[in-house]
């Protein structure tokens, strides 16, 4: 960014601006969106840039949508959930199960692994029996 002429770049905010632009392009192509991010900021924090990003892009936290009981944090040394999986409404409705692995599972790291299972709505062909239109 400095090479591009920005004297005092703000990468923390710039990535959200650029990602919003990219997601809008994909949305125009007719894509459902699933975003998996280490946001380094909580989506539940009032006034946070990350929360504003989710709202502006019509994204909702997948685990918040699916689960009642959430881990207080996703990283050792942090007091909030900074790792996030967020998706658009159509994708959220296809989620069958979601959760977080325990710290000792997954790959050894100070972050825990978030995961979910989604129905294969994309590649499931409509059954002939469900068809109501007979031409």
């Amino acid at each position: 960014m400095i090479k591009d002429g920005k004297e005092a770049p703000d990468p923390c905010t710039q990535v959200l601006t650029d990602l919003t632009k990219f997601l809008n392009e994909k949305r125009d192509e007719g894509c459902g969106i699933l975003v998996m991010v280490d946001a380094n900021e909580s989506s539940s924090k009032e006034g946070s840039k990350w929360k504003a990003f989710l709202t502006n892009n019509a994204l909702e936290g997948l685990h918040e949508y699916t689960l009642d009981n959430l881990p207080p944090t996703t990283r050792i040394g942090s007091t909030t959930r900074i790792d996030c999986m967020a998706a658009t409404e159509g994708i959220l409705q296809e989620v069958q199960a979601a959760g977080f692995r325990a710290l000792h599972e997954g790959i050894i790291s100070d972050h825990i692994m978030g995961r979910h299972q989604s129905r294969q709505f994309l590649w499931r062909r409509r059954s002939v029996n469900n068809s109501t239109t007979i031409l």
Binding site: I33, A98, A102
Partner: protein
């Protein structure tokens, strides 16, 4: 509070502030909380008709002649179809990318990674996205941001439906560091 070190000079010992001490205690408590899993019991096997998506900040993957063995092991154990990884802290040159792709094909039959970051030197942060198995057949396009901040894949479905999966890493804004220093320490510029 003061103490005397072996050389005889007095050393000033700074007590941690009460607020910092309280925060550390809270972090310890929260770290204990995540030693158990949360959410649905999603052990293997993945439910019939479902695909498993996962995401983790791994704080660096193994490199060398046998790169990313822990990633492939986790992918296999948890039956993950699409795995987003933040901070692999790896320079994804052609050599390492081809080696990991070959390992995925050998272990799972189909699949590949899209990794991004600097192509030489040291690459802090970065992004890696892995797709394997049958989901690979639905892959339409993939790419990465030129600054290595996010990586994406578009999957094709029936009835013209499409899914775009994006893995991203949002860098922390360093406090007290100059832009030039931050540029030298992060790949996201």
């Amino acid at each position: 509070m003061t103490s005397t070190d072996p050389r005889g000079s007095k050393v000033e010992r700074v007590e941690p502030s009460r607020r910092l001490s309280s925060q550390l205690k809270q972090c310890d408590t929260l770290a204990l909380a995540i030693t158990s899993l949360f959410g649905h019991d999603i052990w293997q096997p993945v439910r019939s008709g479902c695909k498993c998506f996962a995401f983790q900040n791994v704080c660096g993957i193994d490199k060398g002649l046998d790169p990313a063995p822990e990633v492939l092991e986790a992918t296999s154990i948890y039956d993950i179809s699409i795995f987003g990884i933040a901070e692999p802290i790896t320079v994804f040159d052609d050599s390492i990318t081809h080696t990991i792709d070959a390992k995925i094909k050998k272990q799972f039959g189909r699949g590949f990674i899209s990794g991004e970051g600097r192509k030489s030197g040291y690459n802090p942060g970065g992004i890696m996205q892995l797709i394997r198995g049958r989901a690979t057949g639905r892959h339409m396009a993939s790419g990465t941001d030129k600054l290595g901040r996010y990586s994406w894949m578009t999957l094709r479905g029936s009835n013209t439906k499409k899914l775009c999966v994006v893995t991203a890493y949002r860098v922390v804004q360093g406090k007290g560091s100059t832009p030039k220093y931050r540029e030298s320490t992060t790949a996201h510029w």
